[in-house]
Symmetry: D2
Subunit: 357 residues, 4 copies
Amino acid sequence: MSNSFGNVFKITTFGESHGPAIGVVIDGCPPGLRVNPEDIAKELARRRPGQSRITTQRRERDAVEILSGMHEGKTLGSPIALLIRNEDTKSGDYNNLKNTFRPSHADFTYEAKYGRRDPRGGGRASARETVSRVAAGVFAKKLLAQEKIEILAYVRQIYHVIADILPETVTSSQVESNIVRCPDTSAAKKMIETIEDMSLLGDSVGGIIECIIRNVPAGLGSPVFDKLEARLAQAMLSIPATRGFEVGEGFNAALFTGNEHNDAFVATKGKIRTKTNHSGGIQGGISNGMPILFRVAFKPTATILKEQDTVDSKGKKMKLQVVGRHDPCVLPRAVPIVEAMAALVLADEWLRQKTLL
Amino acid sequence: MSNSFGNVFKITTFGESHGPAIGVVIDGCPPGLRVNPEDIAKELARRRPGQSRITTQRRERDAVEILSGMHEGKTLGSPIALLIRNEDTKSGDYNNLKNTFRPSHADFTYEAKYGRRDPRGGGRASARETVSRVAAGVFAKKLLAQEKIEILAYVRQIYHVIADILPETVTSSQVESNIVRCPDTSAAKKMIETIEDMSLLGDSVGGIIECIIRNVPAGLGSPVFDKLEARLAQAMLSIPATRGFEVGEGFNAALFTGNEHNDAFVATKGKIRTKTNHSGGIQGGISNGMPILFRVAFKPTATILKEQDTVDSKGKKMKLQVVGRHDPCVLPRAVPIVEAMAALVLADEWLRQKTLL
Amino acid sequence: MSNSFGNVFKITTFGESHGPAIGVVIDGCPPGLRVNPEDIAKELARRRPGQSRITTQRRERDAVEILSGMHEGKTLGSPIALLIRNEDTKSGDYNNLKNTFRPSHADFTYEAKYGRRDPRGGGRASARETVSRVAAGVFAKKLLAQEKIEILAYVRQIYHVIADILPETVTSSQVESNIVRCPDTSAAKKMIETIEDMSLLGDSVGGIIECIIRNVPAGLGSPVFDKLEARLAQAMLSIPATRGFEVGEGFNAALFTGNEHNDAFVATKGKIRTKTNHSGGIQGGISNGMPILFRVAFKPTATILKEQDTVDSKGKKMKLQVVGRHDPCVLPRAVPIVEAMAALVLADEWLRQKTLL
Amino acid sequence: MSNSFGNVFKITTFGESHGPAIGVVIDGCPPGLRVNPEDIAKELARRRPGQSRITTQRRERDAVEILSGMHEGKTLGSPIALLIRNEDTKSGDYNNLKNTFRPSHADFTYEAKYGRRDPRGGGRASARETVSRVAAGVFAKKLLAQEKIEILAYVRQIYHVIADILPETVTSSQVESNIVRCPDTSAAKKMIETIEDMSLLGDSVGGIIECIIRNVPAGLGSPVFDKLEARLAQAMLSIPATRGFEVGEGFNAALFTGNEHNDAFVATKGKIRTKTNHSGGIQGGISNGMPILFRVAFKPTATILKEQDTVDSKGKKMKLQVVGRHDPCVLPRAVPIVEAMAALVLADEWLRQKTLL
């Protein structure tokens, strides 16, 4: 069941990186939602390898087939199964990895857990699995769009380059205006240079993605264990290569006093809101109607072209020289994944809230 | 179901702060585990209000009654229900809060979600709910202790005071040697002063708790959505007043290159381990046998004695002057809560792993 | 998690028969529902031992304490915990059963499953656990009553005595008019005699309970695995001593042809209904707006006063002579349990349906 | 989530009868289990339409593609996705049903629930969905076979023809020796005649399937709500066209006294068993080591060729004349479905039991 996520709006993903296919089953999506194959294609294009010179050159069409759950262009209320065939898999690249544990990859831990693994392309641990999430996220986004809820993620930091961004005013077109998906154009330029430099060195970098969710009605989120920030945290930390999550002021909150951090309530035309938004739109695990703001930390890509020390499955020392096509930095392609996971959490809590009314 | 946590080892908590009682039902705890009431009492004492001069002076005995699931001192395999009566509740202190939304509390959001709330002491949103978690955590810790798995949390930072700590060597007695639960004695002294100063000003502070888990066997954690760090993130962000979670290098990982961050595998006497532990003991969502290391950010306590601006339930502007007894800093008492939630995650994954063998 | 039932409206029960207490936590009950302690007391009185000369003479007040989830007489939306202390437990009666397996009881199977058990009064396997279900069912019934949904169970058969009943017209007062809870007065008389005769012989009898649910809107029930009849079947077979479940024509359906069994649709004043109701109100797992009708088979009580052959925990042959107070027939007291379980299923599906709209 | 079944060994099915495909995702199957495509093909052949003259003549190859979760012929521990394309779908046959509610089908109730439906071939409500269950059941059966647990179902009754069968000694080859899957050869002959006669009349019949499970170790099944019989009941009643479930003596238990019905314990060579098996191998919801025996009632097929009264979606009276290819009796093809669902329950409980040890 660890391959499922959600309570009412629930997804189950399947598939290994170099097996026949990957895919997802969405259960609990309400009937009558119109979703076009183009909507899915467009979102997958944002995640696709080979989309720019700073991503892996692996070429995948990621063509999605809708197997079930739709009729005459609309959801039926029954499970929606989406299938994506694996193509352009150069499994031969992984032959030498069958008995090798790549550093900071999941080879060793999968072997420890299951006693076996599919060594080709990381198998189930490959970030390719996130295609399924992005595809499913399209349905969640559509559902939220009916309520005017809008989710927007972007790159905030790459290595030492930190962008200067005012979350409240960022637009989707600003984010999509450059290949690194950072709305600060000048920082974006430096980020791209940094990634290209690291790529030339056979090394990799990480960074921070920020996400703002607008027009969330007050009242979403389920105490106690399913607080909105708790579910978002699980959602984000389930994305490969993530290392941290923070909401509102996050780790920086430690440097505020209570008097500085508390968000005073004010009322504008009868509508209650807060003067500041240090809380990041969530109080007591429930949305308060202000924009939800959170950040996700990504480590540098584990796959690097530099030679590394490691051991084989017998514990014998060896040198690892990876070949193949890899991302020197996952963040530009991770932006739509962060959005998809956030959409899945919000759609689920939106439907859950209906059961209380 | 949002009041439940876990898959195999599962808890459900209940109770409002000023209602008759709070408690927890543990379902899925294996039979034959010996737990004494003293074990529970000892752990609750670490969380109890009034334990020192830097915590709230509310006095609660927090006496736990074991209602079910045990016979002759051992667990039966049936649900274990634990009951803690609410005592010394000065509900009168909350009379003026019935129609007031305290800043950065859950009053407003609970009202938005449910259309009603128990205004006394924060009701269900009160941190008092965590008594149940600490009590349940005792059973999880006992289960893990059989496997030599040890969980140790401590205060890493309070406001601007950052401790100098080597996680690998911290001991429980170092942590418990002072009332702020920081193993760096000199930093601990400054932290206590900081808290006392803020308390005198009617203000509050937050900080960071760090947690190390030792002797975790490789192979625990369930891909894809229940990655070990994802579940720990949810667990931690479900604790009141938390704002962030990070594992291993966390947000700092952004400042490493892949070559610097990757943990090279080495073998010592046939046992495979990593030379460094930037990953914090988890790779691909599964434990790798190294110590698990994570940090949790806490905001400053929302309840402060300084006068604050707010509105009432009609949106009318008003001044809020809180009376009552409150913590100027929650971290010393949050240390056992962080440990309990970590234990609940680990125990659950430990039992889950048995289904694969 | 096997001590929990439901998806949105979810209960978790706990407690052994002769431990300190039993109880239940209800999670997911919507806020604003008015429930009085008297409502619960009244329903528990229908299940209580000692209520008539044909039930066990064990005397229990079954006083329910509401521990949480309510404020000013209404539900808050937070978990509702209900506590019932065990009283008048003559645990001494069970001393000789510590190492004995009572025939057709759960002594042997609990020992096989858990390696240990609480031998007093059947422990967790005791039908006393159903007090929790009946108490929780009161909340579910209240929720359904708002929608005019009415659940009515009654005794259809005891041993060889079969009542003549027209389900469509049975009333609650007819059912409660006699101590065996059979609306056919003349059959009721014979049933009572049968039970009394068996009781004198130290033997026991079983029978069949029928249940009708009226005013169910079309559209409740969740395909595929949570078909309404599938969930009712699980709910009913989870009641101790049950042996079978059937809906509509049930096992008798085998004796119809399709043409005879099919329920033709007709429309009365624009409202679509079926001419006959062989389907028992459910088609394709979803309610069709007709009354839901099902039956539950109960075996004769396993505890009898006659001497029986058995073995002890070492497998040594022995004679068992049970002492203590027991029901010669569980059905009169099982009527409210059947209703409670049906209410829990319906309330859950009612809330689930809201997530589709 | 109603399209999922199981706790540890969990399946999720998807697909409409006349959509592109149906399929299933199995999550929680332990790694290292060898399953061949032929194993799946063989089992699906038992369920396949067109297999004999008494089943529908719809021809489907039901070729299964394994999309994920296997490597080198063995399960990986990751989700196993199985895909079956829909072929030979004569959707044109259903054109006239778009606005018509077929009696005792799910057309009306799906429309009531979802406000829309796929009218082609019953859509999601079609028994075609059970292909997914049978395919998934192969993995469950393999897992159980490692423990020597054997599941065997067969037709016990068709219309008025009741077979004379000794469950303890029935063999698989006896069941498969005739096209109606009844091990009593003489009754089988009459059953086939009955079905053929009804088919000629454009009518249909139902009946009863019995299932025996051998070599089940004592201790499987999870009290309270997941009693083994409760889960089997849900599993069976989730199969289309089922109307009842009974275990052991079932509804007939009402005609026993306690003294007659109780199964006395005896010990043979130290192994404890019961002299009789009125309980059907389950006591207190947990297996007692004796064969598990249960029966499932099926109504006559709702689709008949005789003209029927019904209404359209506006409530207008009309005559329904179904064309197309249908089963005059579903039982012969339902035998492997009953086995598959039983296997899914047992495999799940087998894995669950490991978490207690």
